[in-house]
Symmetry: D3
Subunit: 285 residues, 6 copies
Amino acid sequence: MAFEYRPMRSVIYVDCVREEYRHRLQHWLYSVHVPDSISKFAPYCNKYTFYNALPVPPEGERFGTRRMQMTEHYWMVNEMTPEMSVNVFTERMPPIVLRWQGMIPDVDLTPEQSANMDGDTHRASGGDNGMPPFVFAHVPINWQYDYKGKGRTLDDGPNYRWQFVLRWPCEKTGEKWFEEVFVPYFQSRPEVNRFVSSRIYHDVVGCQFHRLVEMWFDGPDEWYAAAVEGTRDMAQPDWAKEAPKEAPQAQFPFLKPNHYIVGMFLSDMAASDNLTQYRGYLQMR
Amino acid sequence: MAFEYRPMRSVIYVDCVREEYRHRLQHWLYSVHVPDSISKFAPYCNKYTFYNALPVPPEGERFGTRRMQMTEHYWMVNEMTPEMSVNVFTERMPPIVLRWQGMIPDVDLTPEQSANMDGDTHRASGGDNGMPPFVFAHVPINWQYDYKGKGRTLDDGPNYRWQFVLRWPCEKTGEKWFEEVFVPYFQSRPEVNRFVSSRIYHDVVGCQFHRLVEMWFDGPDEWYAAAVEGTRDMAQPDWAKEAPKEAPQAQFPFLKPNHYIVGMFLSDMAASDNLTQYRGYLQMR
Amino acid sequence: MAFEYRPMRSVIYVDCVREEYRHRLQHWLYSVHVPDSISKFAPYCNKYTFYNALPVPPEGERFGTRRMQMTEHYWMVNEMTPEMSVNVFTERMPPIVLRWQGMIPDVDLTPEQSANMDGDTHRASGGDNGMPPFVFAHVPINWQYDYKGKGRTLDDGPNYRWQFVLRWPCEKTGEKWFEEVFVPYFQSRPEVNRFVSSRIYHDVVGCQFHRLVEMWFDGPDEWYAAAVEGTRDMAQPDWAKEAPKEAPQAQFPFLKPNHYIVGMFLSDMAASDNLTQYRGYLQMR
Amino acid sequence: MAFEYRPMRSVIYVDCVREEYRHRLQHWLYSVHVPDSISKFAPYCNKYTFYNALPVPPEGERFGTRRMQMTEHYWMVNEMTPEMSVNVFTERMPPIVLRWQGMIPDVDLTPEQSANMDGDTHRASGGDNGMPPFVFAHVPINWQYDYKGKGRTLDDGPNYRWQFVLRWPCEKTGEKWFEEVFVPYFQSRPEVNRFVSSRIYHDVVGCQFHRLVEMWFDGPDEWYAAAVEGTRDMAQPDWAKEAPKEAPQAQFPFLKPNHYIVGMFLSDMAASDNLTQYRGYLQMR
Amino acid sequence: MAFEYRPMRSVIYVDCVREEYRHRLQHWLYSVHVPDSISKFAPYCNKYTFYNALPVPPEGERFGTRRMQMTEHYWMVNEMTPEMSVNVFTERMPPIVLRWQGMIPDVDLTPEQSANMDGDTHRASGGDNGMPPFVFAHVPINWQYDYKGKGRTLDDGPNYRWQFVLRWPCEKTGEKWFEEVFVPYFQSRPEVNRFVSSRIYHDVVGCQFHRLVEMWFDGPDEWYAAAVEGTRDMAQPDWAKEAPKEAPQAQFPFLKPNHYIVGMFLSDMAASDNLTQYRGYLQMR
Amino acid sequence: MAFEYRPMRSVIYVDCVREEYRHRLQHWLYSVHVPDSISKFAPYCNKYTFYNALPVPPEGERFGTRRMQMTEHYWMVNEMTPEMSVNVFTERMPPIVLRWQGMIPDVDLTPEQSANMDGDTHRASGGDNGMPPFVFAHVPINWQYDYKGKGRTLDDGPNYRWQFVLRWPCEKTGEKWFEEVFVPYFQSRPEVNRFVSSRIYHDVVGCQFHRLVEMWFDGPDEWYAAAVEGTRDMAQPDWAKEAPKEAPQAQFPFLKPNHYIVGMFLSDMAASDNLTQYRGYLQMR
């Protein structure tokens, strides 16, 4: 039985489809999912952190912006190998949580649909049923590409972070356009303080996205200037014209939001570094 | 020199007037204000907690809903007495933080205005200048009035908490109306799962608000049904008619939002229990 | 509204009537009761600790020895005053927990009996129904009487601690006998390394016990020599003869076990110092 | 110098041969051994946890049930390689601790026997001298075989866990019988809620046991029904008849208790997750 | 039995008379004294902190500068009252620790002298025997007198803190000189960034010192300029001339060092906030 | 992209060239550098610890003794590989910190020199400019050579630890002399209680030192007897005579202090185990 040392970082973008569900989803995440997760993976996960989604800026929906939180892990091993497949207890993942997140339709579940799901089924939800996919993207522990702003420190000011994953209808033409159009454009924008990216591993959980990208702005106004106003005249790429289903927008980012581009706006700070800060689900009195 | 044991809870409602400021305000709160505060008051403060504001529900502005966080302390002594007045270091409270919170106008400050403020000046800001007041309300450590829902446990489900302070144009008529109209109305609403209240101490920081109120709903839809839809026909009270400046709304809650009624929507859970969970300002990588 | 500074220590002796219940009771204590309790009283409780019961030594049943854990609190205020009576949420205390502890009969509950109980009802259970009383004894934060062994340090060796509460059929004659017979006897025993005691407050939760006593031995053999073998010839006191219901044993300790004498054997060390060590209910994998 | 990444879990079953020793052994474990251990292996051990032994159920002795605690580690490297052999300080492991655990006879030690032992000698004690072996079994970080109950979550109820190691007189016949008789029998028992197993690495510390097994029951009554009552008619296997020294029992589990079968009854919860919860040896006051 | 709420801060200046003892004293403080202390007073002590002494600056000996650490407590009650006098265990305080600290002569102890001391005897050591006194000074939780530099924040730069206690041969003349000469002098020095003081309670442990003083400088050069160079021409006060035993120096500070003036140079930061940071005595490997 | 599991320990010796800088350097280390570092490397660093330098003993300067702290890390990967080179934020490392540490001259910096440095530049400072080198030495996680004192435990007494790195003018002759002269000499000294060593990796950060050595004494007097007095007659080795620039001392240790021998005196205990104990920069009040 062999365990390969394979340090990876993963990101999950959790959505909340109605405000009616936000406090319920939060309650499940902190009272049920965090202790289940720590119990399960603490021996091989070095960091397990939640970052709260900042509110969606104007036109942010077009960019597949999710509304609950980004969940980040740093792994030492690939948890999806056969060697890791037997778990003495199973995480509690009722389907209703997927409904709150928009992975399954927002309608009442039949009793059969309400049985606990195992984590793999849970994380494989969405995508095929017309609903947005569950995004679980694994990348190297450090960023791979440094496009702009190397050297920025915390003293340079708090950051408005735009982090997202991209899936190209065609990887080859998409990547070419990314390098030749996307990267130079954002490098040239004065509002972009920092810009890094990594390619996503496909062999871990079968994630279909190709790239993870992160850019830092001073705030949402600066993001809007660069990502919305500044891109109004950007030419629709050929790969987008050729894939109207995957890339139905005539404007940047062209891709189908929440399916081919999914992301979040984040601040510098974690809401909870669960392995070091979690102390049980304690309520307000 | 005498120190009186006077256990109190206090609440502060922090607003964020533009999304452009949210991550900056968060950065100041966690990287500067939390360590300053812990350093200062850990010896006599038993609990120091932040609760994130949930998004403002429809028509929530009319209820003086603030958008950043509720800050809660449990004190053992009144920090405002002469015995407590000398502090060897001063908290860092630049006026720009008040601008982000809406306590001073959202315009650039002159250099003179930008000097550090001491905490008392900071907390005394707003209110007199036409801007909303800084709300810092001290109450007994346990709730005083239990109007509905005694016995509710966490197993009864996650709660959508509406917490707010009220200031009456006239305390006597306001309190009478609260008891005779307000309380019975919300007791009768099926959407209200829990309803408690306390009277606010005026002798601590000179807080002008009279009551702290908290009600629990299943979610924002239920709140809207009870607090907005259900009150459309509620008669405008005489005290409101007689005080059009303090109570300019013809509809419930009648009072001038953000000045005479100020509050927030909260979940059950603290974002950070600072005395036990704070581990420095650590950034995302 | 006045809150008196009244520092107190309290002890609770939790029994477990069948081994079939031990892991269930533990699960409820750590997964449900600890977070409920911390959420409720952290602002005015300075220490909240569990100590595991050591196994009952031979003839320990005659001394009212309980089998689960001792729960200790250090309070700053008396939680039972009217000022403290309103709680926005209620602790989850299903009656089955009382069944596991032996406060109600070990038979199936009707649905009506299974509704959640509030904490006061819970803690008032037992005693009147022929079942053993729930023991919740408040004492001063430091011991009051130092009978033997002052100066013992941790370097003198680990201790086998016998801690128990006594209820006299008649306080006056009981106390007299305690001072004239009980204390001198145990002072004279070479096996007793340490011996302290305090009187129990009756005005907090109406506890009917009079004294809390703690003695330290090297181990259960030494306890047996002193408390069982050495007392075989101890004369049955008059107060015991006069109260056969409360003191039905002809031998020391004479009192009715689990009703008039209740205690536990403990080691030096807390199983969990909940306010500083609790990190959620994490399971073995 | 090469360090191989070899993640492993290990279990140790600590016995306590007399109640006279329980508090002493606990004191040594928590005041001496935990800080020594954390100091030594924190850089390459990801989890270091104690689980308290539940009381031995009726006939549990026949199953080699130990009475103090299970000690669990998750390692990143094999600590027994030459690269790891030099330690600047040595753990404090006086032989008396082995006496309390039953690894050496329960008689007074000569001064020569009382010198500190190094950890390897300590952990190699027992077994050859007629005393029970020190059990230190390394297994893969996840279970290898999932025989029954996949999908069980914490919401399915607290578990009474039976965990043990098996050593076959003959590995081949023993394993065959395990697969053909043992596994089907317990799979068929309604009392068994969960059943997993792993094979033990022999190349780490030379552990002679072959299998680690864990089964979950509702409580000791259910364990007794399945493991004692239900096995009364189980045929004594040939391998047992052929090895009367190693397998002297005519009844299940056939093997010599505490030598060829050693285990413990555990609850879901750790008594102490040392790397995250240890805060020094603090005593009751 | 009455417990008065009496919040107090106390400071202890621990010396180390030879470098040969520094690591031994540190070892005792952290491995023995911290856990003993936390065990004893956690229920009524809100903060228990160590601050490392900075190296003694030139001529610092003349100011009674101690060389190990300042120990600070924040208490809720006076631990010295009769109600607090019984402790079930005693702190381990061997006399050799006093030798390392210079409270008893630096010569070998007889066996009789080597028995454990109780804390009160320990803390009452020194002073009467010609050796320097153990300094344990209780003051109000906030400073009483603010002489200079109000408003300084951490952003104004790290501080070189001079903290010391003063004992006047005659309180009346000493205090008069302090107000009329000492305070104005240091207020006028540009090197003094901050200057506060409090009067010491005499009714807690019988401390003979009158004042606690703290001044902040940029560093030891600035301290030297103000406290040594700048005071060369300061007139010897009459009270000093009249008390040559207590005030034998012709130069400022006039008082007998380590007996009538005792202090330490400190940085802004605690070496260990024991109640929140202590995790056992863990060694380097 | 491949990440090799390469567990390593590293040591850094931080100097403080003037007392005027000690509290400033401490402030930068704890308020700026610790949070930057934790944020950056927590996912692949298992231990990150500071040990305070004990005061320099007599003649300690000749041994290259540094005066601030030893910083220790335990890594899982080599942070210097290309895979690890992109960091989304940069640590704050102003050149003035190098001035305080003696890596650049102690003169005022031009504005150009004052820009933030990245960590690699920072750690590459010193050495070439005539100033002492920044020492950052990586070694295996366990010691390689055990020369004396195996088996020593904490109960054998607190230790005065001398830890240092050696750089030979010629590795071959230096190592030969180390084995034939250095090791036997210190093995023979009764003052040496413990003596271990490791060879330093050259392929991580290009460290030019060859060996890390640690020896334990009872205190500085014993160190002086062994390292200074006892070596007065040790013959100057040929390699030293042949390299007067690198080995200009006629006496042991012969090597140029702070350039070819650099070290520190340490106690057993960490000043701060940053990953587990850091709770933000909290100031004294």
